[in-house]
Symmetry: C2
Subunit: 417 residues, 2 copies
């Protein structure tokens, strides 16, 4: 089955945004046993769009298209699909109900402009969009089955998982069962993960191995489809591969279920019925933001004091002004004292603290950009630690500082078990 992806939008071919939809879809398709042959990106121009759709329809069996389903005049995908299919646009009742329903739920009258989103090719079937106004649709163009989805990543992802993939499964006979697992890695560059796992292909020739980097974490994904190994062998082989990968990466594995760092820390805190507080300087609230992105985090997250100013460190966290005077704000002792202060202020079981130089300015010979001190406090102990990273980018530094701080807590919690 030849599968292709088309991403549309002037913002993509003008470079204003990076197309992340295509890589997400390719990865999801691969999990379902479907290999993507090609990805095409085009602008919003109707003629080019129709030409690309027509051209891909000549050679593919399955095509996923994203973007251009909005209500404005530069959203032209439905029209282009109609041209490519030698079909024409008409008001689709089901689509209209879906768009109107979106506004009704929000107690708003549908603006007239959104009516356009219900104008679909006559041969198209509607895919409901529960998270936005743009209905999706699917139709056959020259033997190829096309799915058209919105370009807003969140809407597209939900639509793909809830409606499109099930429909693909109904329409095509896929490689039946695909088992896949994902490990989360922290503390190794992607190249080193690759080197450590370079023997995988020889050891497990019937499996697929892939890496996905989501800075600073690396997700190692391995899968096997039922067409390669049948029945109970499949599970046993997955187990064997998992153990081999674990032996290669050892302590660098954060989660055996592909959880993010903050999800794994949240899981361990929940299991241990423990609470956490945070004191942040250089991470500027990112540790708290990450922790509170996890639903249910209010059960264990009590407080983060984002104390950029030294005065705030002293007043809010009770850090001794002499500690800062003697060592400076970026120091293991200060970080330790911040963690202790946050733990006390919040009445938490554990606390982590960060103080460092995120850059681009503010670095010195002693304390260069990329240096971070991390404090960890828990029942009966507290300690500080210094790490040096080589990134020059402020957001990257904040991110790796935050994940490094959470990793200290994760190791502490994991060792407790």
């Amino acid at each position: 089955m030849r599968t292709e992806i088309i991403s549309t939008g002037d913002e993509i071919v003008s470079g204003a945004v990076t197309d992340t939809n295509a890589s997400w879809l390719a990865s999801e398709l691969l999990d379902a046993g479907i290999v993507t042959a090609r990805i095409s990106c085009t602008g919003d121009e109707a003629k080019t769009l129709a030409a690309v759709i027509g051209e891909v329809a000549q050679r593919a069996d399955l095509v996923l298209v994203t973007g251009g389903l909005g209500p404005t005049e530069d959203d032209r995908t439905a029209g282009a699909a109609a041209v490519a299919a030698q079909d024409r646009l008409g008001l689709n009742r089901e689509a209209l109900v879906s768009v109107e329903g979106y506004f009704e739920k929000r107690r708003v009258t549908m603006p007239e402009i959104n009516r356009k989103q219900a104008e679909l090719p006559l041969t198209a079937d509607v895919v409901e969009n529960l998270f936005g106004t743009a209905p999706g649709f699917y139709m056959v163009i020259n033997q190829a089955l096309f799915f058209f989805m919105p370009g807003v990543p969140m809407e597209m992802k939900k639509m793909f998982k809830n409606a499109v993939l099930p429909e693909i499964n109904r329409r095509f006979t896929l490689n039946t069962r695909v088992l896949s697992r994902c490990f989360t890695i922290f503390g190794l560059p992607e190249a080193d993960v690759g080197t450590r796992l370079s023997g995988f292909r020889n050891k497990f020739p019937e499996m697929r191995l892939g890496f996905r980097a989501d800075f600073p974490l690396i997700y190692v994904k391995f899968s096997c489809s039922g067409s390669h190994l049948a029945g109970s062998n499949l599970e046993a082989e997955m187990e064997r591969a998992g153990q081999w990968i674990a032996s290669c990466l050892e302590k660098r594995i954060v989660s055996f279920q592909g959880l993010t760092m903050e999800e794994e820390v949240g899981r361990l805190l929940t299991v241990g019925a423990a609470t956490v507080a945070v004191a942040e300087s250089c991470t500027g609230g990112l540790v708290a933001d990450m922790l509170t992105n996890v639903a249910g985090s209010s059960d264990y997250f009590l407080l983060s004091a984002v104390t950029y100013a030294n005065q705030a460190k002293i007043r809010v966290l009770g850090v001794d002004s002499r500690t800062i005077e003697k060592n400076g704000a970026v120091h293991e002792e200060t970080a330790r004292s911040m963690a202790e202060g946050a733990r006390t202020a919040a009445g938490a079981d554990y606390a982590i603290a960060t103080s460092g130089v995120a850059g681009p300015g503010g670095g010195s010979e002693d304390k260069p950009v990329g240096m971070v001190c991390i404090g960890l406090a828990g029942p009966g102990f507290s300690r500080g630690k210094t790490c040096q990273f080589s990134f020059k980018d402020r957001k990257m530094n904040k991110k790796i500082f935050a994940v490094t701080a959470l990793e200290q807590l994760r190791r502490e919690l994991a060792a407790k078990k």
Copy 2:
């Protein structure tokens, strides 16, 4: 001049990595006045690669290709280019000197495997790579000028800027000047922005208008190239278009320079030499994270107290326990009191506070998911305000709560000027 980009590599069509090269190139080309018509991504398979190159050669004048120039057997771009051009591969002396030179500089003997990187189509000219082993090359295939560059982003970017773009400028007469501006919008759905600006095309037929949504902000970008309007007319027309857009969107415009909300707030704080503190409940550190993503924010950002637990609101921010008992944590009075507390604790000029229900759990009939109370405190005043949003997604709610809080501060600061 029709321009296309081709990105190659199995890692792209498998979704293992997101192709950032194409969007970077498209953006650079646009700055040089060159519009990209289309982007194609393919895997490493030699036959498909040759087919794509051949196909693009039929319709383009200029083509930029990245990837597949490495030394391993899955690097097949040179061979595919030769097939598409009905040329053949041969050892290119200049390329060999370039590869050998790379190793010599590092006082390492060139491994035999790297010799392959000097095997280029006979009609190709070499582009030196100063930052990696893979030489680039360019050649004409069916009237189209192809540039082949490495896939490693850093190497590709340097090669493009140092050698490829100058060569393009020598070969083509470009549209010389492109002027573009970008406004940042908050508080209107994309559809409404589109409706309000629907008259643009008629009023300014020679200009381009585009929208890019980065939830919950919308960026409106308009541009005009020197080929459409010459000299001083260009600037005058851009000014006229900017004024017309401003009159359509009025108070919804956050920045006339395309700044993010946090950058604009930071700019206004810097201009007014004012400082800010934050008290966050439902946004969980995101307001602080956004503010501190801006380089130099340590000049005005003093503190954020992320007080999830009521006890933390009382202890750290000095919120009166009776205020919480009487109204609950999610209330205008509580939010106002949190803002006052943060302002006092940090000794800041301004403070904003958030308390709300991000979901997915924790909602009630009175205080449903999507409800947020925002407090604002400044010299001689403080106030609270309630907003209700309809998103069910936790991260989306955190984001729109945070941006709404920052918008309150932005309006206050902008009115001050």
